[in-house]
Structure formats: structure tokens, C-alpha cells
């Protein structure tokens, strides 16, 4: 984790500098009669963030923070695999929402997670993956009147038919 601690501090320092630069689009000084300018608040806060990353890097050099003393990697084999499979799964889930609708993406994600990652039997996977989107559909569309993304045009007939049930 020692290397990760320093790399993260550098990335966060760059983020702070970017935020400071972005804040200067608005006035960062004191305008008499108007109070501090619109950019002052985020500019100085990002400045404090930059100072903090400096202190974190200093502590890394002195090896005073626990992660800077640890020889363990930030992610071991299991962690890397987990992040790739689970994080990647969520990423694919969100990407699929605009294609096959929130409900379709939910179904695919649950199949992937339960059958593939969880190694559950199909007798467990299928009911969970089918019932969850149905419950969500009736809860959000019918009860709460919040419409979730319906995906691309080819799914329109399906949702038109479902809407005849709830309206």
C-alpha cells in the first residue's frame, strides 16, 4: 500500500489544482459591497485540499501513516479479480440501461452476479433475477410514478403493454 498511498496523494493533488484552476473562472477575491466572489469558496477549499495532500505525502516520507508502512499491495490477486468482476459488472449494468432499459439491465446483472460470481443454482438465480425487476417495475412506475429508463426503441411495445396493466 506504500506506493498506492503516494500515487493517490499525487492524483488528489492534481485534482485539487484542477479544482482551484476551475474555480478561477469566477471571482476568487473580495468584491466590496458584494462580499466574497463566487469562486472564492471552492478556490480556497481546493487550496486546503492541496495543502492536505502535501502533508499526506510528507507523512508518507516519514512513514507515519499506517498505509505508508504497509508492504501489502493495495489490491491482492483476490482484490483485483473482485474489483474487475464486480466493479466491471456494475459498469456493464449501467451501460446496458440505455440499451435494454433499467429493468432488462437489472435482469442481466442479477443473472451474471448470482449464477456466474455467486455460483448459485439456476433454481435460485432465475426466480431472483425475474422477480426483482417485476417488483421494481410495479413499485416505481405504478406506485411512485417515477419512470425509470426504458432503453432503446425496440422495447417500446413491451413497455406499452406493461403500461396498460398499471394505468
Amino acid at each position: 500500500m506504500r506506493r498506492a498511498e503516494l500515487v493517490t496523494a499525487i492524483v488528489l493533488a492534481l485534482l485539487s489544482i484542477y479544482l482551484m484552476w476551475k474555480s478561477t473562472a469566477l471571482d476568487i477575491g473580495y468584491i466590496s459591497g458584494e462580499g466574497p466572489g463566487g469562486g472564492a469558496w471552492p478556490f480556497w477549499l481546493a487550496g486546503v485540499m492541496l495543502v492536505c495532500t502535501g502533508v499526506i505525502a510528507f507523512n508518507w516520507m516519514r512513514q507515519t501513516s499506517p498505509p505508508s508502512q504497509s508492504d501489502e499491495p493495495l489490491l491482492d490477486r483476490y482484490g483485483r479479480r473482485m474489483l474487475f468482476m464486480v466493479g466491471g459488472g456494475i459498469l456493464a449494468f449501467i451501460a446496458l440501461v440505455s440499451v435494454i432499459s433499467m429493468y432488462g439491465a437489472m435482469f442481466v446483472f442479477l443473472i451474471y452476479y448470482l449464477a456466474f460470481l455467486g455460483r448459485h443454482r439456476w433454481s435460485v438465480t432465475i426466480p431472483v433475477a425475474v422477480i426483482t425487476p417485476i417488483v421494481f417495475f410495479f413499485f416505481f412506475e405504478a406506485l411512485m410514478r417515477i419512470t425509470l429508463p426504458k432503453g432503446m426503441k425496440f422495447l417500446e411495445p413491451v413497455f406499452n403493454w406493461l403500461n396498460t396493466i398499471i394505468y
Partner: protein
């Protein structure tokens, strides 16, 4: 006094209306489950389920969420005792004596003691809350921008001074939350601000739920999967009426002192913004151990060691509501999310709530009493069911939580841009969490940012740019000074530590 009792009566009547009573039962049960599930705590539950409450009126919504909060405080003990891993950070101290008791075959004694101590802690804090809240709110009514800003400063300062985490990382987290809250429009000049890469999705700002769900729904879950890769074993227990009554007697006889300490200490620690239920329960455990006749028994399975943290975490969860309702600053990460919810429901948190929305406030306070009673009943009745549910594989629970997070992130603003942002926050939170960056301060800050910035700017406008306004006003002055002392506290500790180190070296 009479007036308070009348209001309380009205509030309890409101809380037992069928819809609210139903919501309390569902909320408490959900809360018990959320609290019992390792990796899920009250803050995850409230953050993920907040979007679900847009359906009901605000008073019912907050009653539901408060019931989850309350139930989770009870539920945490179940997994601390039967699994040996805390169901929520608030129940960490419960494992110290709860797990040894379970391993000695006395899981029932531990569970019953935890439930009763929780009930007593909840009852004591409810009475304290009812007495203090209207008083504090009436004082807070005279607050202007400098007072409110100094309170915000105090809220952040407690994280630095008392949070116990790495200081530069804590300060970084606070500032990051505040900057994220500044995205969108500058409220005073109306100019667009921090629109990253000119993506239009940033124009409506970053909703606090996007950060809260990202951190608690995705980041924390990834962290839990990564860190609890091993299998956990559940201790089974048989619940019979006779045995439960016997254990209740023994639990209270040996644990009354811990219960009393936890009930009072928990409440006052809960009020402090950075503290909340987790440090409240740890501190109460420590104090109960210190004051015990035979402190060595603690840690080997003493009911007092279960009672103290359990009474404290319930008491603290009510205490944390006190500054949220009366001053508009949250006492814990969970109440920070409740506060954000109040803004979404169109309410202005702060002392005016007591005069402008008495139904909302007293309905909520009334619901504390009802939730407390229902939680102890549901808890004791369904302990075997909860233990059975704890055996549900994480590979079923985790994807359900991810689905809820994605849907919740979308429902808050109905914009896919925010769902992507939530994923980025979640992955970032996972890495930062592994490197010991505390993230609760960032969530608190994104909720408080929209209050802190305008009050600072208005104050400076009042004083024509002179910052001494925060020191010279009779209420703001002392608060600011306390906040500065808290911020400097870690530095003072370091200097004192060095001096002491030098002395021992010299000797």
C-alpha cells in the same frame, strides 16, 4: 412543560395513525435486518432507501427512515453476538463481550441483554430529547448567519478534533465534500460554477444522495466483499419464553450499571456532530469497564459489556437527531442524510421547524417512542428469524444492494449522468477507504455545504469583509473559539506527546 407534553401527545397520536404505524413496523424490521447484515449499517440503509420515500408525505417519510435508523441500532447486536462480526460499526463494542458469551453457549443471554439495554437507552434518550429539543430550538431561533456558520465550523472541527482518523485525510475529505456541494450555480451571482468539461449534467449540481449512495452503497460494499473473503460461522440459539425471561433478569441484574452509563453517555456523545453512535458505544464500554467492580471480567463475557454499548448506540442515535432538528446540523452521518432528505421534501431544517412545522417535528418525536417499543418487541420475537436470515449468502445480498443503489441514484434526480457519477464516487471511495481516508466527513460536508457557503458570505457582507464578526458576537464567538480549539487539538496532542517523549528520553 405542560405544553411539551401536549405536543408530545399529539405527536404520538400522529405516529400511531395506521399509515405511520405500518411504516414504523416495516422500518424497524428493515432496520433490524440492515443492522444485522455485516457491511450494512443504518447509514447505508437510509441512504439507499431515501429515494423510496418520495411516495409518502414528509412526516411519514422521516418517521420511516428514523425507524430504520432505530431498528439498525438494535440489529447490529444480533450479528455481533451470533457471528462475531459487528453488523454495523455502531455494534463493534458489542462483540467484545457478546461473542465470548455466545461461545460459552449463552448467546440468548447476550441477545436479550442487548435488546433490553437498547430499549432502556432508547427510552432515556427519548425523555432527554423531548426535554431539551424545544429549549434548544427556542434559543436557536435568534441565530443569524454568523451563528449558523460558526456551528458549521464546529461540526467540521469535531471531525478533526474527535474523529480519531488521520488529520490531513479528514480535512481533505471535508473540503472535497464542500467543493462538490459548490458544483452547479453560484447562488449569489447566478453564474455557472465548476461545470467540469462543460458536461451539462453538472449544471444541476451534485445531489448529496449521489455521493452518499456511491460511498455507502457501492464503495462500502466493494470494501466488504474485499475484506470479508473468509466464511463466517453463525452461533445458533434456542429462544423460549421461560429462558428469555430468566436471561432478562440476569442480564439486567448484572448489566444495569452498563445500561445506565450507556443511556446517558450515549445521548450526549450522540449530540456531537462527528461522534454519533459508534464512538458513543465504544466510550460507554470503556467507562462501564473502568467503573466495574471487577474490570477483568469485561471482555470475557460480561452482560454489562453488552449492555453499555447497546444502550449507548440507541441513545446516541436519538441524541444525533437533536442538533439536526433544532440547529439544522446533523449529529451523525445518518442524520446528515436525513437532513438532506428534509431539504428534498421541501422543508428548511433548523429551529424554525418547531414553529412552522410542529406536526412534522412532534410526529417524528412521537415516533421515537413508538419505534422504541416496537423495535424491542420485533427484535425479541424474531431473533431466530434474523439468525436464519444472516445465513443468506452475500452473493445474493450484494447484487440486490447494487441494483437498489443504481435505481436509487437514478430516482433521486432522474438523470443517468448522476448514476455514472455515483459509480465513479463508489470506485473512488473504495480506494480511499482502503487507504484510511474517512468518508463520512465528505458526506456530511456535501449536505452542509449549501448552508455553510451562503452563511459565510452573508456574514462577511454584514461585516464588510471583517472576519472578526465570528469572534465578537455573543453566541457565535464562543462557538468559533471552541471550534478552533478542536481543530488545534491534534496539534496540541502532538506537541505534548513530543515533550513527554523528550522527557522520557532525558530520563
Amino acid at each position: 412543560m405542560m405544553e411539551i407534553l401536549l405536543h408530545l401527545g399529539d405527536g404520538i397520536l400522529l405516529a400511531v395513525q395506521p399509515i405511520n404505524l405500518l411504516l414504523i413496523v416495516i422500518g424497524v424490521t428493515l432496520g433490524l435486518f440492515i443492522g444485522a447484515m455485516p457491511g450494512l449499517g443504518s447509514v447505508n440503509g437510509v441512504a439507499i432507501l431515501l429515494p423510496v420515500t418520495f411516495l409518502v408525505p414528509p412526516a411519514s417519510a422521516i418517521i420511516f427512515l428514523a425507524a430504520i435508523y432505530y431498528g439498525a441500532m438494535y440489529g447490529g447486536a444480533i450479528s455481533s453476538i451470533t457471528l462475531g462480526i459487528p453488523g454495523a460499526s455502531t455494534a463493534v463494542a458489542t462483540t467484545f463481550d457478546g461473542r465470548p458469551l455466545a461461545l460459552q453457549g449463552r448467546a440468548r443471554l447476550a441477545l436479550v441483554t442487548a435488546a433490553l439495554a437498547s430499549f432502556i437507552g432508547g427510552s432515556v434518550s427519548n425523555v432527554l430529547f423531548t426535554g431539551f429539543a424545544p429549549l434548544l430550538a427556542s434559543v436557536a431561533l435568534s441565530f443569524g448567519p454568523p451563528e449558523i456558520f460558526s456551528l458549521m465550523l464546529l461540526a467540521f472541527a469535531t471531525f478533526v478534533g474527535l474523529g480519531g482518523d488521520d488529520i490531513p485525510k479528514t480535512v481533505f475529505s471535508i473540503c472535497l465534500g464542500l467543493v462538490l456541494a459548490a458544483v452547479g450555480y453560484d447562488e449569489i451571482s447566478g453564474a455557472p460554477r465548476l461545470i467540469f468539461f462543460d458536461i451539462p449534467g453538472f449544471m444541476h449540481g451534485i445531489n448529496f444522495l449521489v455521493l452518499a449512495i456511491g460511498v455507502y452503497g457501492i464503495g462500502e460494499m466493494l470494501w466488504t466483499i474485499d475484506s470479508t473473503r473468509g466464511k463466517v460461522t453463525t452461533t445458533q440459539t434456542r429462544m423460549t419464553v421461560k429462558g428469555t425471561i430468566e436471561d432478562a433478569g440476569e442480564g439486567m441484574r448484572r448489566g444495569w450499571k452498563g445500561t445506565a452509563i450507556g443511556s446517558f453517555l450515549g445521548f450526549f456523545v450522540g449530540i456531537l456532530p462527528a461522534a454519533g453512535a459508534t464512538p458513543g458505544s465504544l466510550m460507554s464500554y470503556g467507562v462501564a469497564k473502568m467503573l466495574a467492580r471487577n474490570p477483568k471480567e469485561f471482555g470475557r463475557g460480561h452482560p454489562g459489556g453488552v449492555a453499555a454499548p447497546e444502550a449507548a448506540n440507541n441513545s446516541a442515535s436519538t441524541g444525533a437527531m437533536l442538533p439536526m432538528l433544532t440547529l439544522g446540523i446533523p449529529g451523525s452521518p445518518t442524520t446528515a442524510i436525513l437532513l438532506g432528505g428534509m431539504v428534498i421534501w421541501g422543508l428548511t431544517p433548523g429551529p424554525r421547524l418547531f414553529t412552522d412545522q410542529p406536526e412534522f417535528v412532534w410526529g417524528l418525536i412521537g415516533s421515537f417512542y413508538v419505534s422504541n417499543i416496537l423495535a424491542v418487541v420485533v427484535n425479541l420475537a424474531f431473533i431466530p428469524l434474523f439468525i436464519w436470515m444472516l445465513r443468506m449468502p452475500f452473493t445474493i445480498l450484494a447484487p440486490m444492494i447494487f441494483v437498489l443503489s443504481v435505481v436509487g441514484g437514478y430516482a433521486a434526480t432522474q438523470d443517468m449522468h448522476d448514476v455514472w457519477l455515483m459509480l465513479i464516487f463508489g470506485l473512488g471511495a473504495f480506494v480511499l477507504r482502503k487507504l484510511d481516508y474517512p468518508l463520512a466527513p465528505a458526506v456530511l460536508a456535501i449536505v452542509l455545504g449549501p448552508i455553510a457557503e451562503p452563511t459565510l458570505r452573508q456574514s462577511l457582507l454584514l461585516s464588510s469583509g471583517d472576519p472578526s464578526i465570528f469572534f465578537t458576537r455573543p453566541i457565535a464567538g464562543p462557538i468559533t473559539i471552541i471550534a478552533i480549539i478542536l481543530i488545534l487539538l491534534p496539534l496540541i496532542k502532538v506537541i505534548l506527546g513530543r515533550r513527554r517523549g523528550a522527557e522520557t528520553n532525558a530520563a
